[in-house]
């Protein structure tokens, strides 16, 4: 009898196979995530999903709808309200050969599991001299915008990306979400996969056939030579809107969707900066020691002489996330701010 712990030979991933983004198989972001998990679970019986409300309730945000019916209660597992508990159980499962997907209802609640996800998982391979890896995926909602108050609105990427040993994925659309989540599940390292409640209902064409998207490869969403706009996750949409408005005034910009923060595709950023000589980074985290700061530092280190204007960034304000609708809107990056920043960069 084979057990779930026996090694499994999986077919090699072909990252070059990238089916078209054009088509009419429109599905929601949440469905794309579900397809990614379900496809990998069908292929690999070591993969399971665990978290609060994922099974009987079909997911607090309906990402795992129907998965309990298909995979059963052994693989779609409801937990008590014990984030540190199920993060730690997941870590051990990963160390001993399973492939857990752990859902945090919100990344805000991952903070009560901080020791497991930051102090255990990312260091396990290192501390065991390469013996115990942690091929685990933690996923859930990240980011403000839903009027959930400051404790419920965390953007964890700024904080967590400081920690070596984890990969951090932050897709902006259904197509990327699916391809990146499949890669995350197949990856041998721990992956933090950041979704947004604001985008789960977004629809786009997602091809029927399987595909994987490599980590560390940004996507050029829009081309121009006036300025480089760099973003990741939900604010990519704000950048695209801003780029559209700028184009009406004859300012064409490159918009780069980083897709993964760790690894960071700085090469693509540098290549674009060498063309535009200007950069604005848009980041939904707080400004201090943020991913935006990191991108800009690396640009300065590698392409200082190519810059015609000091790099600019558009972050949230440097305060806890406001609860009130009008304050939250003022706090977050938005197209107005992005347009203003780009104009500032190109006016010189």
């Amino acid at each position: 009898m084979t057990t779930t712990l026996d090694p499994i030979e999986l077919p090699e991933i072909d990252f070059d196979h990238a089916p078209s983004r054009e088509g009419n198989r429109e599905i929601q972001f949440r469905e794309a995530l579900r397809e990614a998990m379900s496809e990998e679970m069908r292929r690999d019986k070591r993969v399971f999903l665990m978290g609060e409300e994922v099974a009987e309730y079909n997911g607090a945000y309906k990402v795992s709808q129907g998965m309990l019916d298909e995979f059963g209660a052994e693989r779609i597992i409801d937990t008590p309200i014990s984030e540190n508990g199920f993060a730690g159980l997941g870590a051990a499962a990963a160390m001993y050969g399973l492939r857990p997907i752990i859902e945090f209802m919100s990344w805000s609640f991952s903070l009560v599991a901080a020791d497991q996800i930051l102090n255990n998982v990312p260091k396990m391979l290192y501390m065991s001299g390469g013996q115990w890896g942690c091929p685990i995926v933690f996923r859930g909602n990240d980011g403000a915008g839903g009027q959930l108050g400051s404790t419920h609105s965390w953007c964890v990427e700024g904080l967590y990306s400081n920690v070596p040993g984890v990969k951090i994925v932050i897709p902006s659309n259904p197509y990327d979400a699916k391809g990146l989540l499949k890669t995350a599940i197949r990856d041998d390292d721990p992956v933090f996969f950041l979704e947004s409640e604001r985008m789960l209902g977004d629809k786009a064409h997602v091809p029927e056939e399987e595909y994987y998207i490599p980590f560390g490869k940004a996507r050029l969403v829009r081309e121009g030579d006036a300025c480089t706009l760099v973003s990741f996750g939900r604010p990519v949409h704000f950048c695209v809107q801003a780029a559209g408005r700028l184009a009406e005034e004859g300012i064409e910009v490159d918009v780069l969707d980083m897709r993964t923060i760790r690894p960071l595709d700085i090469d693509s950023v540098i290549e674009s900066v060498k063309k535009t000589n200007r950069i604005v980074v848009v980041d939904q985290c707080w400004p201090f020691a943020s991913v935006a700061s990191e991108v800009i530092t690396q640009v300065i280190e590698r392409a200082f002489d190519w810059l015609d204007h000091q790099p600019l960034r558009v972050n949230t304000e440097d305060v806890p996330t406001p609860y009130a609708k009008n304050l939250e809107a003022a706090y977050q990056p938005n197209p107005d701010r992005i347009v203003a920043a780009v104009k500032k960069a190109v006016e010189a």
């Binding site: 984030e83 108050g149 406001p322 609708k325 003022a330």
Partner: protein, 375 residues
Amino acid sequence: MPKKTVYKATIEHLQILNEDGKLDASLAKNTLTDEEVAFLFEQMVIWRHFDEVAFKLQRSGRMGTYPQNKGQEAAALGSGFAAKKGTDFLVPCYRENAALFLHGLAPHMILLHWMGDERGNQIPDNVNCTPISIPIGTQMLHATGIAWAYKIRKEPRCVVTYFGDGATSEGDFHEAMNFASTLEVPCVFFCQNNQWAISVPREVQMASETVAQKALAYGMPGMQVDGNDMFAVFKATRDALDRARKGGGPTFIEAVTYRLADHTTADDAKRYRDVKEVEAWTKKDPIIRHRKFLESKGLWSDKKHAEVEAKAKKIVDEIIKTAEGIEKPSPADIFNYTFAEIPEQLRVQRDTMRTNSLGQDPSQTGLKTEHAHTR
């Protein structure tokens, strides 16, 4: 050496007023007077109405997500009434509005909170409670800390902290319980076991038969009460507070109750709850039994009930008017409350409403928000 039993325990369940409104007179001795029951029942009717109206406000887009308290009012009122207003301190989660109101929190503050306004959390100096706590379980440690302070200062004051059955799965709960019992602090851990944590039933949440027995592991007295019976809730809480005030340490009370409404306005409990279960608990609604009791005493009538309902409507209308009449917060507010004194960088950021790298230079204007310069 023969084997011997080193620890044995039982958990008691206290009920004084049953579902039919019948009172156990001997147990009821030295609990609530008739006048007090009538007063608390009136509160129950008012805050039930408040809850129903809050639900409608959310449905009509006038408020954000709201967790109804429906069915749990006796637990909130009985325990809140046992705590000394102005002396004791309440550390709530989000399902005991009536207890906070008894202790003087203006009800529009709760609406303001759920309308998405931080100012709903500005607790007046003369009200002893912390704001509603959203991260599950974290407030119990604060309660333990506050109670510890009372002990150190030798103040005869106690803390009552509220949380749900689901919250007892969090590590914070266990750490709070352990601290509280080893430090012997004057804290009452009041668990509203409403049988559900969103869609997770109590028996899936935990394997223990009662929630109360979790206290035993910490050497803390633990008991169960009928949470829909104000007499039982009051007596258990008052006795626990009396003991705590005399230096007897913490107590755990499991109030067995039921969430008659959805988890929040974002939930639809019909999808996971059996109608029969809800029907059975609807019969145990605290409003039904306390009304029956008062009627049997000649203290309540249909006419009186209609009067109280009309009064409730007026009171709640006023509360909504107050909450909705408050001017929207100014964008400058988000900067004003981040530090005790606003640092220079943040001041510049406030005055320009720009993000860090842009905001460093006050000469860069253009995105000022209406109120940005008002403070």
